[in-house]
């Protein structure tokens, strides 16, 4: 399965792809489109990606997640295109021998995905307006720069820029 796709995401496919008899724990994270954002009613969402880079960063993120948390399996897919309320924009599947590692790995993977993967979210509100959500500036190095998992924080507009010159 491609990691960036305009097809409906299916966690069951990733579960089958990662079957592993040595694993006792499976953790699935899905990000789903909410009907509200910062007090405004959302009608639908559009995701776009810069695919050449996004595919590579997702693959590296899978590998780094496995290495960092010593989990056996990690697969990530992200959808692009128009999504309705309730549809999944991202699916992360982790399998591990022990559940603690699996939970840590899945949470780190989604936190880090939000900081590293060139994907953009465009909210379409019920009042007819739309707006790109502000996000996290990419640093010049795609790995290892943004390790802090800032739980629950959706926008990093105030984050100091990494010097790029």
């Amino acid at each position: 399965m491609e990691r960036i796709t305009d097809q409906v995401l299916d966690a069951e496919i990733l579960k089958r792809e990662t079957e592993n008899p040595a694993c006792g724990a499976l953790i699935v994270f899905e990000g789903t489109v909410r009907d509200h954002h910062r007090g405004r009613q959302v009608q639908r969402m559009e995701y776009t990606a810069y695919k050449p880079l996004a595919e590579r960063v997702l693959q590296e993120l899978e590998e780094e997640t496995k290495r960092r948390f010593k989990v056996a399996e990690c697969r990530i897919t992200h959808r692009v295109g128009e999504l309705a309320i309730g549809e999944a924009s991202v699916v992360i599947v982790v399998r591990s021998a022990h559940r603690g590692d699996g939970f840590d790995a899945a949470e780190w993977a989604i936190d880090t995905l939000k900081q590293r993967v060139p994907i953009w979210k465009n909210d379409f509100y019920t009042d007819g307006t739309r707006a790109y959500q502000d996000g996290v500036p990419l640093s010049a190095c795609s790995s290892g720069e943004h390790d802090s998992a800032q739980r629950g924080q959706e926008s990093h507009a105030e984050q100091p820029m990494r010097k790029q010159d």
Partner: protein, 79 residues
Amino acid sequence: MRIEFCGVLQEAVGDEALELSIATPNRVADILEELAERIPALQTHLPRIACAVGDEVIPRSEMVTGDVPLVLLPPVSGG
């Protein structure tokens, strides 16, 4: 050379891409400066933009040849 825009930058520019007539090879930082002069709406975005060529993010100090597009990536908001 061809410049491509992602996310909110497409709104700012009003297009997904444009041809910038500039000498190549050239430094990314200088290309961005030239762009911002021609498209003032890009200026506020520039400090938080990353630049990519193919599947790689490149620093602004790098030289690009112009053989492939330079892709401008605003802050990301996937997930």
